[in-house]
Symmetry: C2
Subunit: 210 residues, 2 copies
DNA sequence: AGTTGTGAACCGATTCACAGCG
DNA sequence: CGCTGTGAATCGGTTCACAACT
């Protein structure tokens, strides 16, 4: 890609990808940006601009070939191979993530989980391809397995420390569920999922409507 | 408030709130926007602008009184009272949310959970103040309890139907974990948490760095 | 004719820079 | 003097509108 691509563009590509999968299942082979836009609630010009960051994928006068565009977007995002992911923190949230079936569909697999406690209960919730390690082994396992993406699901008081260790071990992308803004080098990407903030935003708009 | 407030502003207020709580615990009584900005990684002018939507809270030449500002922001967001929340879907994710302790700290309490299946296993994971109802009772319970905020944690194929029912029952704010963009009337606020998209954004930026 | 790809216009949010005030 | 509050400048992303192309 020639220029800096905004994160929202990638988020939308991911959205288009899902929509294209649906279209494929419905047996639709060609789609215009106008129609795709209607389906996923995005302005058609926006769709064309998003794709333009990466090349030309459409046929003028026709539209986009669903199957081709789907493959192209997969390749752009980097979903043409499976990604192994590390999970740090096997509490309630961690367990929910471990049993979340959606990951596989997207080509992600949690292959290593870390916790300060390694007991039978936790071991029993591990899916087939995932091993539970003690937190002390984090750097070693991540290096050995060459993992690049990690999910932080620990208490917020630990999150920054965990992030520092992950980065040192070679992790380049972090999905953080702890309610703290992690500080990481710029060559590492972080996405924050903060339930508190989400709920408070809702609260404000609900409370305002009166 | 005089004008339309962007959602990001509220998200940041929520962030400031946390930071102010920390400051309070540390015994710091006054803080400048510059210092607060450094702490939570936000430009100081941004902080002042965000607050300016709602009034004047600082003292020129001094800064902001931590305790006062904290209370003011709480009041602005609508956190001066406790919010009862409905949860739809008691699968893995739903259970994780039920046991998530962070809600209380923010003044949220899940008081009603709904699922198509009402069994002993599910009942056993209910926290003290929360009752499990059959999905059929959704509208009735929400109306009776006057709930305004709901969390959707059902399969994506059900999510839009659930949303429609919630809106009809009087819900004004929805936190949606299902990977579909919900269509709701404009007087209803939706926040989407989409793990697939988050991971794919990470993937892109990680894959790009090579 | 129909739809893409894209420069130009637009819009909203962020940052700057300073006047205003304690 | 120092820091807030804010108008003006800037930036980045979205939408428009049309030329280019099939």
């Amino acid at each position: 890609m020639r220029f800096k691509v905004p994160e929202v563009t990638i988020a939308r590509l991911s959205l288009y990808l899902r929509c294209l999968s649906d279209l494929e299942e419905e047996g639709i082979e060609v789609i215009s940006s106008a129609e795709l836009g209607k389906r996923c609630g995005i302005n058609p010009a926006q769709i064309r601009k998003d794709l333009a960051y990466f090349g030309e994928f459409g046929t003028r006068g026709v539209g986009y070939y669903v199957k081709d565009l789907k493959e192209d977007i997969k390749r752009i995002i980097g979903l043409d191979k499976e990604w192994e992911v590390a999970l740090v923190g096997v509490g309630n949230l961690g367990r929910a993530l471990l049993s979340y079936q959606g990951f596989k569909r997207h080509g992600f697999k949690i292959t290593a989980a870390f916790d300060k406690v390694v007991d039978e209960e936790r071991k029993s919730v591990m899916p087939p391809d995932c091993t539970l390690y003690h937190a002390d082994e984090m750097e070693e396992v991540i290096r050995k397995k060459r993992l690049k993406i990690a999910i932080i699901a620990v208490h917020y008081s630990e999150a920054q420390k965990v992030a520092d260790r992950l980065v040192k071990a070679g992790i380049k992308g972090i999905l953080n569920f702890a309610p703290v803004r992690l500080k990481v080098p710029k060559n590492v990407t972080v996405r924050h999922i903060d339930l508190g903030i989400e709920l408070e935003v809702l609260t404000f708009f609900v409370a305002a409507k009166r």
